[in-house]
Point group: C2
Amino acid sequence: MTSAFALSDHDSAQLPLATELIAVIVASSGGAARILTIGGGDRLPSGPLESRHRSLQSGLRAWVEAQTRHQLGYMEQLYTFADPDRTGSAPNVRVISVSYLGLTRESQKASFSDAGWRDWYRYFPWEDHRAGAPPLIAAAIAPRLSAWAHGATTAALRRERRQRADITFGLNGHRWNEELALHRYELMFEAGLVEEAHRAGADLRERAGLFGRPMVHDHRRILATGIARLRAKIKYRPVVFELMPDEFTLFQLQQTVESLSGRLLHKQNFRRFIEQQQLVEETGDIATETGGRPAKLFRFRREVRIERAIGGTKLPTPRS
Amino acid sequence: MTSAFALSDHDSAQLPLATELIAVIVASSGGAARILTIGGGDRLPSGPLESRHRSLQSGLRAWVEAQTRHQLGYMEQLYTFADPDRTGSAPNVRVISVSYLGLTRESQKASFSDAGWRDWYRYFPWEDHRAGAPPLIAAAIAPRLSAWAHGATTAALRRERRQRADITFGLNGHRWNEELALHRYELMFEAGLVEEAHRAGADLRERAGLFGRPMVHDHRRILATGIARLRAKIKYRPVVFELMPDEFTLFQLQQTVESLSGRLLHKQNFRRFIEQQQLVEETGDIATETGGRPAKLFRFRREVRIERAIGGTKLPTPRS
DNA sequence: ACCCTTATGCTGAAACTGAGCATTTCAGTA
DNA sequence: TACTGAAATGCTCAGTTTCAGCATAAGGGT
């Protein structure tokens, strides 16, 4: 056992390092949650930390701007990976990947180079329950997970797999929980249903696209991490802020939340919830293009932002 | 545009990197929350990632074991830092610090070398509200924060500072929120109340110890991050598991939770909460050394662990 | 037997949730 | 101009959950 304090002296222990900053940038418009991608949609903006970057965050901002010409607002750290076999890069270098979640307004008119906004449900078709549970789950996912569970070697393992599938996908009496997006992706990966699981040379490759569009390396996993985090956070922190224009109707706000959480909300209860939070105030103006009775326009109250940024919140319940 | 990994070519951008893994290891015994420290209590176990480590987690486990002879159970990532001036180390090297939170049972009889368990409230005396708000807050913290807020240059800034102080420390009608441990430390830091704020050469150094025991570098900040995370998590995930012995009374469980959250709970409601969660089952045995009526002994139900590890939970409310 | 201490059981008011029904106010359209 | 469809808004109500106590049980010690 190497002694605890012999560290930096041991040249043998030295490890060639590289860093990678990866961004999950989310926006929502017209009832669709979108993410900022490059490479025609199969990778997230990313790049290494360089000496000119003052911090991880600023480095990431620089990369995103360089690759997409998009300026970022709110950001928070997601996760840091350093698995030896994580990326397809040089085998002797340890890559440390730090991922961030960013929320923004999809301002810049679309694309620079090969950057662009994509609906995030293209990558996770099983995550959108706004029109009820997607048929894909019952038709394709559930049976395959079942087969996978059945194929386990021990009874205990079979039971555990079945239980995980039931819980994460809301099968057999369990409720759908939208926050388990990452668990679901990991399960799909373990069960070999997503294309990424077969990268290291396998035969059973799934028909591309059936279980969502794949991404480079583990970018889709990182995206799932971001979705799960955002769906959880939105319930107790006023992060939707960052996604909304200056003025909006309550229904637009609701639709934004719905697009992120992937489920519909009871309209009246959503309003009650928002009002009781005192997050918004009327602007006095009225939106006329709603199709029915015109809706009042609201804006977020500046005053609350500090308090809310610290305090807490909760989200109301599903609507039929 | 440069791909994520093409960068190693740019020698100019190359950055000498080093890593640091830092552990916040928590245990609770006898109603006291403790953390595992080295250096006589002023630093957290830590060490660089080396080539023999298969992952960040396993590297950290190795370091903690080497430095403290303590074996770890549950761990989760806390945060990753890479500020250029973070540590006192060589100025031309960028250190990436990845911190983890670990929960354990304080098994190993105390110490190896200079390792040891310390009550975490020694580092954050203002965080323990089990016997009511510590007098320190009203006597020393509140007035100094007030002065600090008053010293701001603009009215808006003054207002913001005052508001932050009120919210985070539960002053002027605001409620104490134990989850804001990190916010509070950051506020104390900004206001120059903690010793660490004056490291870069200042004069106003506070009397050491009045505002908690300082630590090396930013270790105390990392500890605050861990406390805040644990206090939040304990409410919706059954993480106390990891801190309890195999058999325990409900009151011991409650005291463990109380030691972590720093506030007392209503006993009957805590029981109802635990029962309704169905996390525990009676062992059939009875603890006799309680001082009053003997208490039933409980253990955690194995069956629930998977579901709970995924699902959710909530914590009941304060007791007087 | 009496007292002190902690465990455990119960209860009632208040607050919160989930689901609807009812009314208001536009834009079109017969 | 009255009628209709589409939303926005307002209100109600029952079922749950939460908060805070009161009451009783069951040990040890004097």
